[in-house]
Structure formats: C-alpha cells, structure tokens
Symmetry: C2
Subunit: 260 residues, 2 copies
DNA sequence: CGGGACTTTGAGCAAATTCAACCATTGTGG
DNA sequence: CCACAATGGTTGAATTTGCTCAAAGTCCCG
C-alpha cells in the first residue's frame, strides 16, 4: 500500500503576490498592496470574517506556496511551525501505522484550513494530490495576531467545530457503512463541497487515486474499483475520462449514502 | 441493535451548589459563594484557565444536573440550547443511521466538555452510561461570556483541536485496525484518560456495555466478547468482576494498539 | 510507439458478521 | 425467599463481505 508519495518538506515558496493568472488584470495593483483582498477563495476561507485593515495585517505575515503533485506539505511529528490555507488544488491528510497501513483523514480543497494544532508538533501528514497552491502563515505570528483579531479566533473555533462534525460523520462511515454506502457517501460529500466552492458537482472531479480513496474509506483499491464498476453497471454513476464521474442517478446515490 | 436507551430530555437539574458530598465540610461556604472554585474536576476542565473573579461569572450561569443511567442528555437534531461539562460518570456520544446502525463517536468522563457546536442544532446524541453529573451552561449566555473571556475561548479552541486529533486517531482505528488492535487501543486509551483524571488505570473500570464498546469500535458485541476472551487466554488482560479489567501485560497491549 | 503507473477483473481466502443457543447476573413478583 | 423472567455476556457454526494474491487491461506521457 506504499506509505505516501515522494516526500520532501515544503519548498518553492515565494512572497505575495502570487501569479495573477486567474485574476483580472485590473486587480493586480490592488493585489500588490492588499494581496488577500484580491484572493479569489477568500469568501470560502476563515479570512472572510475580516475587514480590509484586518486583512492587511494578515497579508503582512502570509506567503504563498505552489507545490507539485505528491509533494509533502507537512509531516506528522515535525514542529508545527506553519499553518496553511488551501487556495487551489487538493491536499490529503493522513496518518500511518508502524507497518505502513495508512488512513487518510481528510481531503482539503480551496478555502480549507490546514494545520490547526495547539500542540507544537503536527499530528498528521499532509501531501499535495495534484498541484496545489497554499497560503502559509508562521504559527507564532498568526497566534499573536489572533489576540488582536477575536473575530478570526471565533471563526477558527467555528471551523474546528465543523471539522469535528465532519469527523463524526466519517466515523459512522468507517465504522458502520458498507463499501457501497461508503463510496456513495464519498461522492455526495465531494459533490456538496464542490458546489460550495462554485465548482461543478455533477460531472464531479476525482483528483485523487483509487488508493487514496481506499485509504480514506477504510477499503482496498480493489474493493473501491469493484464498487465503482458495480455502481456504473447499475447506472447510478458514469465514469468519464480524466478522473470525472457523472452522478447519473443522484437520488439513488444519496439514498445509498444515508444507508437506505 | 436497539437505537438508544430510554430517552427523554434532561431534567432533574437544580441550581448550584451541588451536594457537597465529596467536598470537605470547610469548603462548603466557599462553594456557596463561588461554586466553581470548589469544583473537584476544575483542574481537568476548560475552566482551569479562569481566575477567581472569572470563575464567579461562569458560576452565575451554570446549573448542575444529575442524571440516572441511560438518560438522554441531548439529542441529535434538537436545538443546541445548552453546553455541558461532565463532572462525574461517563457519557457516550453517538450517531445513528436510518436503519438503526449506531456509531458511538466518543465516551466522555469527568472534566470533558460536551456540546460544542456553532450550529444551532446538536449534530449527535449523548446519553448517560451510568449515573452522571454535569455542569450545564445556557449556550447564549456562555457565548456572550466568551466575548469577555478570551482565555476561555482560546481554551475551547485548544480543546476542539485536541478532540480533532483524537477523532483522527479514531479514524485510523476504525479504518485500518483489526479487532484485536481496536480492543487494545481502546483499553490503552481509557487507561491513559483514567490516569489523567487521577483514577486507577490498571484495574481499569469499563462502565460501558459490550454493545457500547462494539458500537464505538465498529465491531459486533460477539466480536468484542470473543476478543476479550482471546486476550484473557493469552494472559494480557484479566477480566475482573464489576466491569473491571486488569492490564496484566500492558506492554503487549500497547504493542497491539499501535499495530505491532 | 513503448513503458510505467494506475485500474480493473478474477479466484480463493479469512476476518468478522449473522444467527442461534446457552450461561450468568439481577431484579421482581408470587 | 425462591422461582423466573429479563438483560447482558459468552460461545458455537455457518455465512458473507471485503481482502489477498495474481493477472490482464488501460491510460498517460515521454
């Protein structure tokens, strides 16, 4: 089951502003002054509770990072020196057992926050699934900033509370659902999150490998593959080229997901 | 698998101060004024970051509750009007699937916080395992108080972060560990928490039923029972009367727990 | 066009579940 | 006070779901 991908620590960072490639040219100068104010995933992020001057303070401590596929973002046990916000791409979080068995505890997409840990070491590893862009915050400086920005702290608490709820959903999935129900739940969950990000939920993108899906759902790749073909045969999904899935019969998938 | 126990909403509450039965008589008057300051699980709780005047403000909005075994503390989907702190006994949190399959997402003991949800409805149900005592906080009033007590808010964030780490441990348990490893992890986890509370970790108390353990570990009661007898036969544990277990060979249990 | 990685499919197997019976403990009513 | 029902726990046998091992197929990228 190969523990992880090729893993070296983060590099390739550079100061804001990031490339403006998916930003209108007119915004470029604004972005130079207040990079965060031109961020196209701000509305999805924890930063959305901050006003312009507060954003500016945040922008002062942030740097952007672009990582290629399979690059390790952070590693379990390493000093938790930085926190991140995903601005593009997909990141997987995982833990390993001594013998290499792996459990992926979550997939992060644009707008998702990464690294919350009031411990001084990361409790899990994180790796880029495809190419990923991230905002990076030095932990110490962000913590100091939090004292001045109670709104942000409240938002982080809300965020943590949501993640906790999601973790409990994942527990009932792992502990009590069948393979078919797990796959269905996974698809519905990804679709809902894609929608929230304003991305396509019906031809749904699955950027991660079958092995990743298996390690997320507590299955093997073979079972994941078999279950996909089973759902395909039953005409509830259609597997499209390029890692896309069509949710042909979304109602049926939703029923399966909730244990119908 | 019978959904839950006999479940009616909380009652039987009364205002502080609680009975002083495990408090020295001399403290009784102090308790009348600042009930929280005499709390014997304060050092374990989120309240441990507050000084005397802050504690007093907290005490003003708290009431204590004693619930018999199997009483529902709060119910998934109900308005999240109160938050709780467990002061004695054991509470189980769980979620149900439509057909009654149950996943217990956690057991709470003295000092543990319950009900954190920035949603307006509880995301799970909670039920007393044995007789339980709780501190109860009206959510609105506690939220208002949080604006004045940033220390407490930070503590809650730290708490949530710890719970998140525990949730990830539970995910790798549910997704990737064998029945034997699950039981071993469960015992080690309970022992560590008992120790932190200053309770006996070696003759370890298991207040919950086999069914509860099964629903927590993603197993059936039969498998839990078989695994216990297997560990008993291998002389790594000893089952004692009164729901106690001796961790005869703790090292072996720890090795099993980490997937050795 | 070829090679490597990923995915799918197949056959046999094993861990855990299901179904069923039995045992132990406890509480209750005759 | 004891018989007995009820609950929870243990054990056994058969079954099943998902896993392991193995091979073939597909896709992508140079």
């Amino acid at each position: 089951m190969s523990a992880s991908g090729s893993g070296r620590p983060v590099d390739g960072e550079r100061r804001m502003p990031a490339d403006g490639e998916r930003r209108k040219p007119a915004d470029a100068t604004i972005a130079d002054i207040h990079p965060c104010s031109a961020c196209d995933v701000r509305q999805l992020s924890v930063c959305n509770v901050l006003d312009a001057p507060e954003l500016k303070r945040l922008a002062e401590i942030v740097s952007t990072v672009t990582l290629p596929a399979h690059r390790t973002v952070l590693h379990e046990g390493d000093p938790a020196d930085h926190l991140y916000n995903v601005t593009g791409g997909c990141v997987k979080l995982y833990k390993l057992l001594a013998d290499g068995r792996r459990q992926i505890t979550g997939f992060l997409f644009a707008g998702d926050f990464l690294g919350l840990a009031l411990e001084d070491r990361y409790a899990y590893s994180a790796e880029a699934v495809g190419e990923v862009t991230l905002c990076r915050f030095p932990r110490r400086r962000l913590e100091r900033l939090l004292d001045d920005l109670p709104k942000l702290e409240k938002r982080l608490l809300g965020n943590a509370s949501n993640e906790l709820a999601a973790a409990q959903d994942q527990m009932i999935l792992l502990g009590r659902k069948t393979a078919r129900e797990k796959i269905a739940s996974f698809l519905i969950n990804l679709a809902a999150r894609a929608e929230r990000r304003g991305q396509s939920a019906d031809p749904l993108a699955l950027p991660m490998s079958r092995t990743d899906i298996a390690d997320y759902l507590g299955l093997t790749t073979e079972t994941v593959s078999r279950t996909f073909t089973q759902l395909k045969t039953r005409r509830v999904i259609t597997l499209l080229p390029g890692g896309m899935v069509a949710l042909t019969d979304r109602l049926a998938i939703e029923e399966l997901a909730s244990g119908g």
